[in-house]
Symmetry: C2
Subunit: 321 residues, 2 copies
Protein backbone atom coordinates (compact mmCIF):
# COMPACT_ATOMS: atom_id res chain seq x y z
CA UNK A 1 0.00 0.00 0.00
CA UNK A 2 1.30 3.42 -0.97
CA UNK A 3 0.99 6.19 1.62
CA UNK A 4 1.50 9.92 1.25
CA UNK A 5 1.55 12.82 3.69
CA UNK A 6 -1.10 15.39 2.78
CA UNK A 7 -0.83 18.96 4.09
CA UNK A 8 -3.68 21.48 3.91
CA UNK A 9 -2.79 25.09 4.81
CA UNK A 10 -5.72 27.42 5.37
CA UNK A 11 -6.23 30.79 7.01
CA UNK A 12 -8.10 29.30 9.99
CA UNK A 13 -6.62 25.86 10.42
CA UNK A 14 -3.88 23.61 9.12
CA UNK A 15 -4.58 19.91 8.63
CA UNK A 16 -2.08 17.13 8.05
CA UNK A 17 -2.86 13.48 7.35
CA UNK A 18 -1.60 10.18 6.04
CA UNK A 19 -3.55 9.24 2.91
CA UNK A 20 -3.44 5.82 1.30
CA UNK A 21 -3.83 4.95 -2.36
CA UNK A 22 -7.56 4.39 -1.98
CA UNK A 23 -7.96 8.00 -0.84
CA UNK A 24 -8.56 7.11 2.80
CA UNK A 25 -7.11 9.29 5.56
CA UNK A 26 -5.69 6.88 8.15
CA UNK A 27 -4.21 9.36 10.66
CA UNK A 28 -4.50 13.14 10.91
CA UNK A 29 -3.85 16.22 13.03
CA UNK A 30 -5.53 19.61 12.87
CA UNK A 31 -4.08 22.76 14.45
CA UNK A 32 -5.25 26.37 14.46
CA UNK A 33 -3.36 28.64 12.06
CA UNK A 34 -1.31 31.24 13.99
CA UNK A 35 -2.12 33.64 11.19
CA UNK A 36 -1.15 36.73 13.15
CA UNK A 37 2.16 35.27 14.32
CA UNK A 38 5.52 35.34 12.57
CA UNK A 39 6.48 33.31 9.54
CA UNK A 40 8.39 31.03 11.87
CA UNK A 41 5.41 30.59 14.23
CA UNK A 42 3.47 29.39 11.18
CA UNK A 43 6.21 27.02 10.15
CA UNK A 44 6.65 25.59 13.66
CA UNK A 45 2.91 24.95 13.97
CA UNK A 46 2.90 23.18 10.62
CA UNK A 47 5.91 21.00 11.29
CA UNK A 48 4.52 20.06 14.72
CA UNK A 49 1.32 18.90 13.05
CA UNK A 50 3.40 16.85 10.60
CA UNK A 51 5.42 15.26 13.39
CA UNK A 52 2.33 14.51 15.45
CA UNK A 53 0.71 12.80 12.50
CA UNK A 54 3.78 10.73 11.71
CA UNK A 55 4.09 9.72 15.37
CA UNK A 56 0.45 8.64 15.47
CA UNK A 57 0.93 6.59 12.32
CA UNK A 58 4.16 4.94 13.55
CA UNK A 59 6.36 6.64 10.93
CA UNK A 60 5.28 4.65 7.88
CA UNK A 61 7.26 4.60 4.67
CA UNK A 62 5.98 7.50 2.54
CA UNK A 63 5.84 7.84 -1.23
CA UNK A 64 5.84 11.61 -1.10
CA UNK A 65 4.30 14.75 0.36
CA UNK A 66 1.46 16.76 -1.18
CA UNK A 67 0.54 20.29 -0.12
CA UNK A 68 -2.60 22.29 -0.77
CA UNK A 69 -2.25 25.89 0.31
CA UNK A 70 -4.36 29.01 0.30
CA UNK A 71 -3.08 31.30 -2.41
CA UNK A 72 -1.92 33.13 -4.29
CA UNK A 73 1.31 31.28 -4.85
CA UNK A 74 4.11 31.18 -7.38
CA UNK A 75 3.66 27.73 -8.87
CA UNK A 76 5.18 25.15 -9.12
CA UNK A 77 7.92 26.81 -7.03
CA UNK A 78 5.42 26.91 -4.16
CA UNK A 79 6.20 30.37 -2.81
CA UNK A 80 2.96 31.18 -1.02
CA UNK A 81 1.37 34.50 0.00
CA UNK A 82 -2.01 33.45 1.43
CA UNK A 83 -4.42 36.39 1.62
CA UNK A 84 -5.46 35.54 5.18
CA UNK A 85 -1.97 34.67 6.49
CA UNK A 86 -0.11 38.00 6.52
CA UNK A 87 3.00 36.40 8.03
CA UNK A 88 3.65 34.45 4.86
CA UNK A 89 4.49 36.66 1.90
CA UNK A 90 6.50 34.82 -0.72
CA UNK A 91 7.13 32.09 1.85
CA UNK A 92 9.04 29.20 0.19
CA UNK A 93 6.68 26.54 1.47
CA UNK A 94 7.51 23.83 -1.05
CA UNK A 95 11.25 24.29 -0.53
CA UNK A 96 10.92 24.24 3.26
CA UNK A 97 8.84 21.07 3.22
CA UNK A 98 11.33 19.54 0.78
CA UNK A 99 14.15 20.31 3.24
CA UNK A 100 12.19 18.64 6.03
CA UNK A 101 11.62 15.56 3.83
CA UNK A 102 14.77 15.52 1.69
CA UNK A 103 14.25 12.02 0.27
CA UNK A 104 10.61 12.49 -0.77
CA UNK A 105 8.92 14.00 -3.79
CA UNK A 106 7.11 17.15 -2.59
CA UNK A 107 4.29 18.64 -4.69
CA UNK A 108 2.04 21.65 -4.15
CA UNK A 109 -1.03 23.35 -5.55
CA UNK A 110 -3.65 25.90 -4.62
CA UNK A 111 -6.11 24.60 -1.98
CA UNK A 112 -9.19 24.96 -4.19
CA UNK A 113 -7.40 23.01 -6.91
CA UNK A 114 -6.48 20.29 -4.40
CA UNK A 115 -10.11 20.14 -3.28
CA UNK A 116 -11.18 19.72 -6.90
CA UNK A 117 -8.71 16.88 -7.39
CA UNK A 118 -10.01 15.16 -4.25
CA UNK A 119 -13.63 15.47 -5.33
CA UNK A 120 -12.77 14.16 -8.80
CA UNK A 121 -10.77 11.27 -7.41
CA UNK A 122 -12.95 9.97 -4.58
CA UNK A 123 -15.73 12.52 -4.05
CA UNK A 124 -18.81 13.81 -5.85
CA UNK A 125 -16.92 14.00 -9.15
CA UNK A 126 -15.85 10.37 -9.27
CA UNK A 127 -16.56 8.93 -12.70
CA UNK A 128 -16.89 12.30 -14.43
CA UNK A 129 -14.19 13.45 -16.85
CA UNK A 130 -14.92 17.21 -16.95
CA UNK A 131 -15.32 18.77 -13.55
CA UNK A 132 -15.39 22.20 -11.96
CA UNK A 133 -14.77 22.33 -8.23
CA UNK A 134 -15.54 25.56 -6.42
CA UNK A 135 -15.51 26.99 -2.92
CA UNK A 136 -17.81 29.85 -1.92
CA UNK A 137 -16.49 31.16 1.35
CA UNK A 138 -14.49 34.24 2.42
CA UNK A 139 -13.32 34.18 -1.18
CA UNK A 140 -14.55 32.25 -4.20
CA UNK A 141 -12.03 29.82 -5.66
CA UNK A 142 -11.99 26.74 -7.80
CA UNK A 143 -10.23 24.18 -9.91
CA UNK A 144 -10.81 22.49 -13.25
CA UNK A 145 -10.49 18.96 -14.57
CA UNK A 146 -10.79 18.36 -18.33
CA UNK A 147 -10.66 14.90 -19.86
CA UNK A 148 -9.73 13.58 -16.39
CA UNK A 149 -6.66 15.83 -16.15
CA UNK A 150 -6.19 18.85 -13.94
CA UNK A 151 -5.81 22.06 -15.93
CA UNK A 152 -2.98 24.19 -14.58
CA UNK A 153 -2.97 27.22 -16.85
CA UNK A 154 0.24 29.05 -17.69
CA UNK A 155 1.17 29.96 -14.12
CA UNK A 156 -0.79 27.30 -12.24
CA UNK A 157 -3.80 29.55 -11.62
CA UNK A 158 -6.50 27.94 -13.75
CA UNK A 159 -9.81 27.57 -11.94
CA UNK A 160 -10.18 31.11 -10.60
CA UNK A 161 -13.94 31.15 -11.15
CA UNK A 162 -14.22 33.87 -8.52
CA UNK A 163 -12.96 36.37 -11.07
CA UNK A 164 -15.35 35.59 -13.87
CA UNK A 165 -17.32 38.77 -14.57
CA UNK A 166 -20.97 38.21 -13.71
CA UNK A 167 -22.13 41.84 -13.77
CA UNK A 168 -20.03 44.37 -15.72
CA UNK A 169 -21.57 47.21 -13.70
CA UNK A 170 -21.22 45.35 -10.41
CA UNK A 171 -19.11 46.26 -7.37
CA UNK A 172 -15.38 46.74 -7.47
CA UNK A 173 -13.47 43.58 -6.65
CA UNK A 174 -10.44 43.42 -4.38
CA UNK A 175 -8.57 41.97 -7.40
CA UNK A 176 -8.75 45.36 -9.08
CA UNK A 177 -11.47 44.35 -11.52
CA UNK A 178 -15.20 45.03 -11.43
CA UNK A 179 -18.26 42.82 -11.20
CA UNK A 180 -16.36 39.61 -10.43
CA UNK A 181 -18.30 36.70 -8.94
CA UNK A 182 -16.19 36.95 -5.79
CA UNK A 183 -17.01 40.64 -5.29
CA UNK A 184 -20.71 39.75 -5.20
CA UNK A 185 -20.99 36.24 -3.79
CA UNK A 186 -18.25 35.88 -1.20
CA UNK A 187 -19.58 35.55 2.34
CA UNK A 188 -18.42 38.94 3.66
CA UNK A 189 -19.69 40.64 0.48
CA UNK A 190 -23.11 39.06 0.91
CA UNK A 191 -23.28 40.07 4.57
CA UNK A 192 -22.13 43.61 3.78
CA UNK A 193 -24.78 43.95 1.09
CA UNK A 194 -27.46 42.90 3.60
CA UNK A 195 -26.16 45.39 6.16
CA UNK A 196 -26.23 48.10 3.51
CA UNK A 197 -29.87 47.22 2.83
CA UNK A 198 -30.72 47.62 6.51
CA UNK A 199 -30.24 44.13 7.92
CA UNK A 200 -29.28 44.20 11.61
CA UNK A 201 -27.58 41.19 13.21
CA UNK A 202 -28.45 42.40 16.73
CA UNK A 203 -26.05 40.97 19.31
CA UNK A 204 -24.91 38.19 16.99
CA UNK A 205 -21.85 38.52 14.75
CA UNK A 206 -22.58 40.02 11.34
CA UNK A 207 -21.76 36.83 9.47
CA UNK A 208 -23.22 34.32 7.08
CA UNK A 209 -24.57 32.12 9.85
CA UNK A 210 -26.60 34.96 11.41
CA UNK A 211 -27.77 36.04 7.99
CA UNK A 212 -28.90 32.48 7.19
CA UNK A 213 -30.80 32.25 10.49
CA UNK A 214 -32.76 35.36 9.62
CA UNK A 215 -33.33 34.29 6.04
CA UNK A 216 -34.73 30.99 7.27
CA UNK A 217 -37.00 32.98 9.62
CA UNK A 218 -38.35 34.93 6.65
CA UNK A 219 -36.32 38.17 6.75
CA UNK A 220 -36.72 39.58 3.25
CA UNK A 221 -33.40 41.40 3.10
CA UNK A 222 -31.54 38.32 4.29
CA UNK A 223 -33.33 36.16 1.70
CA UNK A 224 -32.52 38.72 -1.01
CA UNK A 225 -28.86 38.68 -0.02
CA UNK A 226 -28.59 34.92 -0.54
CA UNK A 227 -30.62 35.18 -3.75
CA UNK A 228 -28.20 37.80 -5.08
CA UNK A 229 -25.19 35.60 -4.23
CA UNK A 230 -26.80 32.45 -5.61
CA UNK A 231 -27.75 34.13 -8.88
CA UNK A 232 -24.19 35.35 -9.33
CA UNK A 233 -22.89 31.80 -8.82
CA UNK A 234 -25.46 30.44 -11.27
CA UNK A 235 -24.48 32.97 -13.95
CA UNK A 236 -20.79 32.12 -13.55
CA UNK A 237 -21.61 28.40 -13.74
CA UNK A 238 -23.56 28.96 -16.98
CA UNK A 239 -20.49 30.66 -18.46
CA UNK A 240 -18.22 27.81 -17.35
CA UNK A 241 -20.57 25.16 -18.71
CA UNK A 242 -20.62 26.85 -22.14
CA UNK A 243 -16.89 27.48 -22.24
CA UNK A 244 -15.76 24.06 -21.01
CA UNK A 245 -18.58 21.63 -21.82
CA UNK A 246 -18.48 20.32 -18.25
CA UNK A 247 -20.14 17.22 -16.85
CA UNK A 248 -20.49 18.41 -13.26
CA UNK A 249 -19.86 21.35 -10.95
CA UNK A 250 -19.16 20.62 -7.29
CA UNK A 251 -19.67 23.39 -4.77
CA UNK A 252 -18.34 23.65 -1.26
CA UNK A 253 -17.41 26.30 1.29
CA UNK A 254 -19.20 28.00 4.16
CA UNK A 255 -21.82 29.73 2.04
CA UNK A 256 -23.10 26.37 0.80
CA UNK A 257 -24.09 25.47 4.36
CA UNK A 258 -26.99 27.88 3.91
CA UNK A 259 -28.47 25.23 1.62
CA UNK A 260 -31.45 26.09 -0.54
CA UNK A 261 -31.13 29.79 0.30
CA UNK A 262 -28.14 29.82 -2.06
CA UNK A 263 -28.64 26.70 -4.17
CA UNK A 264 -32.19 27.35 -5.42
CA UNK A 265 -31.59 30.82 -6.92
CA UNK A 266 -28.26 29.51 -8.20
CA UNK A 267 -29.90 26.68 -10.13
CA UNK A 268 -32.63 29.02 -11.41
CA UNK A 269 -30.07 31.52 -12.72
CA UNK A 270 -28.10 28.69 -14.30
CA UNK A 271 -31.22 27.38 -16.04
CA UNK A 272 -32.05 30.91 -17.27
CA UNK A 273 -28.59 31.59 -18.73
CA UNK A 274 -27.42 28.18 -19.96
CA UNK A 275 -29.20 27.75 -23.26
CA UNK A 276 -27.20 25.22 -25.26
CA UNK A 277 -28.03 21.57 -24.70
CA UNK A 278 -24.50 20.53 -23.86
CA UNK A 279 -24.27 23.31 -21.26
CA UNK A 280 -27.66 22.61 -19.68
CA UNK A 281 -26.70 18.99 -19.05
CA UNK A 282 -24.08 20.03 -16.46
CA UNK A 283 -25.06 18.79 -12.99
CA UNK A 284 -24.57 21.06 -9.99
CA UNK A 285 -24.01 19.32 -6.66
CA UNK A 286 -22.50 20.01 -3.27
CA UNK A 287 -19.22 18.47 -2.19
CA UNK A 288 -19.04 14.77 -1.41
CA UNK A 289 -16.09 14.96 0.97
CA UNK A 290 -15.96 16.55 4.39
CA UNK A 291 -13.13 18.51 5.99
CA UNK A 292 -10.56 15.95 4.90
CA UNK A 293 -10.93 16.91 1.21
CA UNK A 294 -7.99 19.28 1.57
CA UNK A 295 -5.64 16.57 2.86
CA UNK A 296 -6.84 14.02 0.30
CA UNK A 297 -6.48 16.51 -2.55
CA UNK A 298 -2.98 17.47 -1.46
CA UNK A 299 -1.96 13.82 -1.31
CA UNK A 300 -3.58 13.12 -4.69
CA UNK A 301 -0.95 15.32 -6.34
CA UNK A 302 1.42 12.44 -5.56
CA UNK A 303 -0.91 9.42 -5.41
CA UNK A 304 -2.63 10.34 -8.70
CA UNK A 305 0.15 12.37 -10.24
CA UNK A 306 -0.59 11.14 -13.76
CA UNK A 307 -3.89 13.03 -13.56
CA UNK A 308 -3.18 15.92 -11.25
CA UNK A 309 0.51 16.79 -11.48
CA UNK A 310 1.90 18.17 -14.73
CA UNK A 311 3.90 21.35 -14.16
CA UNK A 312 6.13 22.34 -17.09
CA UNK A 313 9.33 20.33 -16.83
CA UNK A 314 8.29 18.08 -13.97
CA UNK A 315 7.32 14.42 -14.15
CA UNK A 316 3.66 13.60 -13.62
CA UNK A 317 3.83 9.83 -13.43
CA UNK A 318 2.39 7.87 -10.59
CA UNK A 319 4.94 7.18 -7.90
CA UNK A 320 5.12 3.60 -6.71
CA UNK A 321 6.68 3.24 -3.28
CA UNK B 1 6.88 14.02 -45.96
CA UNK B 2 3.47 13.32 -44.46
CA UNK B 3 0.48 14.81 -46.26
CA UNK B 4 -3.13 15.07 -45.14
CA UNK B 5 -6.32 16.21 -46.82
CA UNK B 6 -7.90 19.08 -44.90
CA UNK B 7 -11.59 19.91 -45.36
CA UNK B 8 -13.21 23.13 -44.10
CA UNK B 9 -17.00 23.27 -44.29
CA UNK B 10 -18.57 26.70 -43.77
CA UNK B 11 -21.91 28.28 -44.47
CA UNK B 12 -20.55 30.40 -47.34
CA UNK B 13 -17.74 28.34 -48.80
CA UNK B 14 -16.10 24.97 -48.57
CA UNK B 15 -12.33 24.71 -48.83
CA UNK B 16 -10.24 21.59 -49.36
CA UNK B 17 -6.46 21.36 -49.39
CA UNK B 18 -3.41 19.15 -49.11
CA UNK B 19 -1.45 20.06 -45.99
CA UNK B 20 2.06 18.85 -45.25
CA UNK B 21 3.63 18.20 -41.88
CA UNK B 22 5.07 21.70 -41.69
CA UNK B 23 1.54 23.13 -41.90
CA UNK B 24 1.91 24.33 -45.49
CA UNK B 25 -1.03 24.07 -47.89
CA UNK B 26 0.41 22.79 -51.16
CA UNK B 27 -2.79 22.50 -53.24
CA UNK B 28 -6.33 23.66 -52.57
CA UNK B 29 -9.80 24.20 -54.01
CA UNK B 30 -12.55 26.50 -52.79
CA UNK B 31 -16.19 26.17 -53.82
CA UNK B 32 -19.31 28.08 -52.78
CA UNK B 33 -21.53 26.24 -50.31
CA UNK B 34 -24.88 25.30 -51.92
CA UNK B 35 -26.45 25.96 -48.56
CA UNK B 36 -30.00 26.17 -49.92
CA UNK B 37 -29.66 22.97 -51.95
CA UNK B 38 -30.32 19.42 -50.86
CA UNK B 39 -28.11 17.37 -48.59
CA UNK B 40 -26.86 15.58 -51.66
CA UNK B 41 -26.07 18.86 -53.49
CA UNK B 42 -23.89 19.73 -50.53
CA UNK B 43 -22.17 16.37 -50.55
CA UNK B 44 -21.57 16.45 -54.32
CA UNK B 45 -20.04 19.93 -54.10
CA UNK B 46 -17.76 18.79 -51.30
CA UNK B 47 -16.60 15.58 -52.98
CA UNK B 48 -15.96 17.50 -56.23
CA UNK B 49 -13.71 19.89 -54.33
CA UNK B 50 -11.88 16.91 -52.82
CA UNK B 51 -11.42 15.26 -56.22
CA UNK B 52 -10.25 18.53 -57.82
CA UNK B 53 -7.67 19.00 -55.10
CA UNK B 54 -6.37 15.44 -55.36
CA UNK B 55 -6.17 15.77 -59.16
CA UNK B 56 -4.18 19.02 -58.85
CA UNK B 57 -1.80 17.38 -56.40
CA UNK B 58 -1.31 14.24 -58.53
CA UNK B 59 -3.03 11.92 -56.02
CA UNK B 60 -0.31 11.82 -53.37
CA UNK B 61 -0.22 9.21 -50.65
CA UNK B 62 -2.25 10.57 -47.73
CA UNK B 63 -1.84 9.91 -44.00
CA UNK B 64 -5.45 10.79 -43.26
CA UNK B 65 -8.29 13.26 -43.67
CA UNK B 66 -9.17 16.04 -41.24
CA UNK B 67 -12.47 17.90 -41.28
CA UNK B 68 -13.40 21.20 -39.64
CA UNK B 69 -17.11 21.90 -39.90
CA UNK B 70 -19.50 24.59 -38.81
CA UNK B 71 -21.54 23.26 -35.89
CA UNK B 72 -23.25 22.13 -33.91
CA UNK B 73 -22.24 18.53 -34.37
CA UNK B 74 -22.42 15.28 -32.46
CA UNK B 75 -18.78 14.60 -31.73
CA UNK B 76 -16.69 12.56 -32.37
CA UNK B 77 -19.35 10.78 -34.48
CA UNK B 78 -19.29 13.81 -36.77
CA UNK B 79 -23.02 14.17 -37.39
CA UNK B 80 -23.27 17.82 -38.33
CA UNK B 81 -26.16 20.30 -38.26
CA UNK B 82 -24.54 23.60 -39.28
CA UNK B 83 -26.72 26.58 -38.33
CA UNK B 84 -26.28 28.17 -41.77
CA UNK B 85 -26.61 24.97 -43.84
CA UNK B 86 -30.27 23.94 -43.43
CA UNK B 87 -29.84 21.00 -45.81
CA UNK B 88 -27.58 19.23 -43.32
CA UNK B 89 -29.38 18.24 -40.14
CA UNK B 90 -27.69 15.33 -38.43
CA UNK B 91 -25.72 14.71 -41.63
CA UNK B 92 -23.20 11.88 -41.03
CA UNK B 93 -20.27 13.84 -42.46
CA UNK B 94 -17.47 11.87 -40.81
CA UNK B 95 -18.99 8.55 -41.87
CA UNK B 96 -19.54 9.72 -45.45
CA UNK B 97 -15.97 10.98 -45.76
CA UNK B 98 -14.76 7.73 -44.22
CA UNK B 99 -16.66 5.78 -46.89
CA UNK B 100 -15.06 7.91 -49.59
CA UNK B 101 -11.60 7.27 -48.12
CA UNK B 102 -12.00 3.79 -46.62
CA UNK B 103 -8.30 3.20 -45.98
CA UNK B 104 -7.60 6.50 -44.24
CA UNK B 105 -8.05 7.76 -40.70
CA UNK B 106 -10.77 10.44 -40.80
CA UNK B 107 -11.06 12.96 -37.95
CA UNK B 108 -13.43 15.88 -37.38
CA UNK B 109 -13.96 18.85 -35.09
CA UNK B 110 -15.86 22.12 -34.92
CA UNK B 111 -14.45 24.76 -37.30
CA UNK B 112 -13.59 27.26 -34.58
CA UNK B 113 -11.73 24.51 -32.74
CA UNK B 114 -9.85 23.61 -35.93
CA UNK B 115 -8.95 27.29 -36.40
CA UNK B 116 -7.62 27.38 -32.83
CA UNK B 117 -5.49 24.29 -33.45
CA UNK B 118 -4.07 25.88 -36.63
CA UNK B 119 -3.22 29.13 -34.87
CA UNK B 120 -1.59 27.23 -32.01
CA UNK B 121 0.38 24.99 -34.36
CA UNK B 122 1.67 27.44 -36.96
CA UNK B 123 -0.09 30.77 -36.41
CA UNK B 124 -0.20 33.55 -33.84
CA UNK B 125 -0.27 31.06 -30.97
CA UNK B 126 2.90 29.21 -31.88
CA UNK B 127 5.09 28.78 -28.81
CA UNK B 128 2.26 29.42 -26.31
CA UNK B 129 0.92 26.56 -24.21
CA UNK B 130 -2.42 28.05 -23.12
CA UNK B 131 -4.42 29.56 -25.94
CA UNK B 132 -7.94 30.75 -26.66
CA UNK B 133 -8.90 31.05 -30.31
CA UNK B 134 -12.08 32.90 -31.16
CA UNK B 135 -14.07 33.98 -34.19
CA UNK B 136 -16.35 37.03 -34.08
CA UNK B 137 -18.53 36.82 -37.15
CA UNK B 138 -22.17 35.85 -37.81
CA UNK B 139 -21.78 33.91 -34.60
CA UNK B 140 -19.09 33.95 -31.93
CA UNK B 141 -17.18 30.69 -31.55
CA UNK B 142 -13.89 29.48 -30.21
CA UNK B 143 -11.54 26.77 -29.09
CA UNK B 144 -9.21 26.16 -26.18
CA UNK B 145 -5.70 24.79 -25.80
CA UNK B 146 -4.38 24.09 -22.27
CA UNK B 147 -0.86 22.82 -21.62
CA UNK B 148 -0.47 22.46 -25.41
CA UNK B 149 -3.45 20.11 -25.68
CA UNK B 150 -6.83 20.84 -27.17
CA UNK B 151 -9.63 20.74 -24.61
CA UNK B 152 -12.64 18.80 -25.91
CA UNK B 153 -15.10 18.96 -23.04
CA UNK B 154 -17.53 16.14 -22.38
CA UNK B 155 -19.29 16.26 -25.77
CA UNK B 156 -16.58 17.97 -27.85
CA UNK B 157 -18.03 21.46 -27.37
CA UNK B 158 -15.41 23.17 -25.21
CA UNK B 159 -14.51 26.65 -26.45
CA UNK B 160 -18.02 28.09 -26.83
CA UNK B 161 -16.96 31.54 -25.62
CA UNK B 162 -19.94 33.01 -27.49
CA UNK B 163 -22.18 31.79 -24.69
CA UNK B 164 -20.32 33.23 -21.76
CA UNK B 165 -22.68 35.64 -20.01
CA UNK B 166 -21.34 39.18 -20.30
CA UNK B 167 -24.47 41.06 -19.21
CA UNK B 168 -27.05 39.17 -17.14
CA UNK B 169 -29.69 41.73 -18.14
CA UNK B 170 -28.62 41.74 -21.79
CA UNK B 171 -30.58 40.64 -24.85
CA UNK B 172 -32.01 37.18 -25.31
CA UNK B 173 -29.66 34.87 -27.17
CA UNK B 174 -30.72 32.46 -29.91
CA UNK B 175 -29.29 29.70 -27.70
CA UNK B 176 -32.16 30.22 -25.27
CA UNK B 177 -30.04 32.03 -22.68
CA UNK B 178 -29.73 35.74 -21.96
CA UNK B 179 -26.87 38.21 -22.16
CA UNK B 180 -24.47 35.85 -23.96
CA UNK B 181 -21.48 37.39 -25.69
CA UNK B 182 -22.82 36.19 -29.04
CA UNK B 183 -26.19 37.89 -28.53
CA UNK B 184 -24.39 41.21 -28.15
CA UNK B 185 -21.23 41.04 -30.26
CA UNK B 186 -22.07 38.94 -33.30
CA UNK B 187 -22.06 40.96 -36.53
CA UNK B 188 -25.80 40.87 -37.21
CA UNK B 189 -26.51 41.74 -33.57
CA UNK B 190 -24.20 44.73 -33.73
CA UNK B 191 -25.76 45.97 -36.97
CA UNK B 192 -29.26 45.47 -35.61
CA UNK B 193 -28.41 47.44 -32.48
CA UNK B 194 -27.16 50.32 -34.65
CA UNK B 195 -30.34 50.22 -36.77
CA UNK B 196 -32.43 50.29 -33.59
CA UNK B 197 -30.49 53.37 -32.48
CA UNK B 198 -31.32 55.11 -35.77
CA UNK B 199 -28.37 54.19 -38.00
CA UNK B 200 -29.36 54.14 -41.69
CA UNK B 201 -27.23 52.24 -44.20
CA UNK B 202 -28.78 54.12 -47.16
CA UNK B 203 -28.53 52.11 -50.38
CA UNK B 204 -25.78 49.90 -49.01
CA UNK B 205 -26.49 46.57 -47.33
CA UNK B 206 -27.13 46.83 -43.60
CA UNK B 207 -23.98 44.91 -42.66
CA UNK B 208 -20.78 45.19 -40.70
CA UNK B 209 -18.84 46.63 -43.63
CA UNK B 210 -21.27 49.54 -44.12
CA UNK B 211 -21.36 50.10 -40.38
CA UNK B 212 -17.56 50.19 -40.22
CA UNK B 213 -17.43 52.71 -43.10
CA UNK B 214 -19.71 55.05 -41.21
CA UNK B 215 -17.90 54.53 -37.92
CA UNK B 216 -14.62 55.41 -39.60
CA UNK B 217 -16.33 58.54 -40.99
CA UNK B 218 -17.29 59.55 -37.47
CA UNK B 219 -20.92 58.39 -37.19
CA UNK B 220 -21.53 58.29 -33.44
CA UNK B 221 -24.09 55.50 -33.45
CA UNK B 222 -21.87 53.34 -35.64
CA UNK B 223 -18.90 53.96 -33.34
CA UNK B 224 -21.04 53.15 -30.31
CA UNK B 225 -22.15 49.89 -31.91
CA UNK B 226 -18.56 48.70 -32.32
CA UNK B 227 -17.70 49.94 -28.82
CA UNK B 228 -20.58 47.92 -27.39
CA UNK B 229 -19.45 44.78 -29.23
CA UNK B 230 -15.78 45.30 -28.36
CA UNK B 231 -16.54 45.81 -24.67
CA UNK B 232 -18.56 42.61 -24.60
CA UNK B 233 -15.65 40.70 -26.13
CA UNK B 234 -13.23 42.28 -23.63
CA UNK B 235 -15.39 41.29 -20.67
CA UNK B 236 -15.63 37.70 -21.91
CA UNK B 237 -11.87 37.60 -22.41
CA UNK B 238 -11.30 38.84 -18.85
CA UNK B 239 -13.47 35.96 -17.59
CA UNK B 240 -11.56 33.44 -19.71
CA UNK B 241 -8.18 34.77 -18.60
CA UNK B 242 -9.15 34.40 -14.92
CA UNK B 243 -10.72 30.98 -15.34
CA UNK B 244 -8.00 29.42 -17.49
CA UNK B 245 -4.79 31.38 -16.79
CA UNK B 246 -4.23 31.81 -20.52
CA UNK B 247 -1.10 33.03 -22.28
CA UNK B 248 -2.78 34.46 -25.37
CA UNK B 249 -6.14 35.03 -27.02
CA UNK B 250 -6.29 35.05 -30.81
CA UNK B 251 -9.23 36.72 -32.50
CA UNK B 252 -10.45 36.31 -36.05
CA UNK B 253 -13.66 36.60 -38.06
CA UNK B 254 -15.30 39.33 -40.08
CA UNK B 255 -15.90 41.73 -37.18
CA UNK B 256 -12.15 41.90 -36.54
CA UNK B 257 -11.67 43.46 -39.97
CA UNK B 258 -13.11 46.63 -38.47
CA UNK B 259 -9.79 46.93 -36.62
CA UNK B 260 -9.45 49.46 -33.82
CA UNK B 261 -13.18 50.16 -33.83
CA UNK B 262 -13.57 46.80 -32.12
CA UNK B 263 -10.11 46.11 -30.72
CA UNK B 264 -9.57 49.31 -28.73
CA UNK B 265 -12.75 49.18 -26.62
CA UNK B 266 -12.15 45.43 -26.29
CA UNK B 267 -8.69 45.91 -24.80
CA UNK B 268 -9.97 48.72 -22.55
CA UNK B 269 -12.77 46.56 -21.18
CA UNK B 270 -10.32 43.70 -20.66
CA UNK B 271 -7.96 45.98 -18.73
CA UNK B 272 -10.87 47.24 -16.61
CA UNK B 273 -12.15 43.80 -15.66
CA UNK B 274 -9.02 41.63 -15.49
CA UNK B 275 -7.54 42.47 -12.10
CA UNK B 276 -5.32 39.56 -11.12
CA UNK B 277 -1.75 39.66 -12.37
CA UNK B 278 -1.83 36.29 -14.06
CA UNK B 279 -4.99 37.28 -15.93
CA UNK B 280 -3.73 40.70 -16.99
CA UNK B 281 -0.66 39.13 -18.60
CA UNK B 282 -2.79 37.47 -21.32
CA UNK B 283 -1.98 38.92 -24.73
CA UNK B 284 -4.79 39.66 -27.16
CA UNK B 285 -3.88 39.50 -30.86
CA UNK B 286 -5.57 39.00 -34.20
CA UNK B 287 -5.16 35.80 -36.19
CA UNK B 288 -1.84 35.01 -37.83
CA UNK B 289 -3.22 32.78 -40.58
CA UNK B 290 -5.38 33.79 -43.51
CA UNK B 291 -8.27 31.91 -45.09
CA UNK B 292 -6.33 28.65 -45.09
CA UNK B 293 -6.46 28.37 -41.28
CA UNK B 294 -9.56 26.19 -41.62
CA UNK B 295 -7.84 23.67 -43.88
CA UNK B 296 -4.66 23.65 -41.80
CA UNK B 297 -6.58 23.21 -38.57
CA UNK B 298 -8.61 20.35 -40.02
CA UNK B 299 -5.44 18.61 -41.19
CA UNK B 300 -3.75 19.22 -37.83
CA UNK B 301 -6.24 16.84 -36.20
CA UNK B 302 -4.27 14.13 -38.03
CA UNK B 303 -0.82 15.70 -38.45
CA UNK B 304 -0.65 16.79 -34.80
CA UNK B 305 -3.02 14.24 -33.35
CA UNK B 306 -1.03 13.88 -30.14
CA UNK B 307 -1.99 17.46 -29.30
CA UNK B 308 -5.35 17.94 -30.96
CA UNK B 309 -7.10 14.59 -31.19
CA UNK B 310 -8.19 12.84 -28.01
CA UNK B 311 -11.83 11.76 -28.18
CA UNK B 312 -12.84 9.20 -25.57
CA UNK B 313 -11.82 5.79 -26.84
CA UNK B 314 -9.93 6.95 -29.93
CA UNK B 315 -6.20 7.01 -30.43
CA UNK B 316 -4.54 10.42 -30.45
CA UNK B 317 -1.04 9.45 -31.54
CA UNK B 318 0.69 11.05 -34.45
CA UNK B 319 0.18 9.12 -37.65
CA UNK B 320 3.31 8.42 -39.65
CA UNK B 321 2.61 7.65 -43.29
Amino acid sequence: MTQVLGIDVGGTKMAVGIVDDSGEVTHSSIVPTPAQGTADDMWQALTSACDQTLDKAGHPELAGVGIGSAGPMVWPAGEVSPVNIPAWRGFPLRTQVQEKFPDLDVRIHNDAIAMTAAEHWVGAGRGYANVLGMVVSTGVGGGLVADNHLINGGLGNAGHIGHIVVDPNGPECRCGGRGCLEAIARGPGTVQWAVNQGWLPGDRPADGRSLAEDANAGDEVAIAAFTRAGEAVGIALASCAALLDLDIAIIGGGMVQSGDLLMVPMQEAFDRHAGLGFARRMKIVTVGLEQEAGIVGAASLVLQGENYWSPPGEQGDRIIA
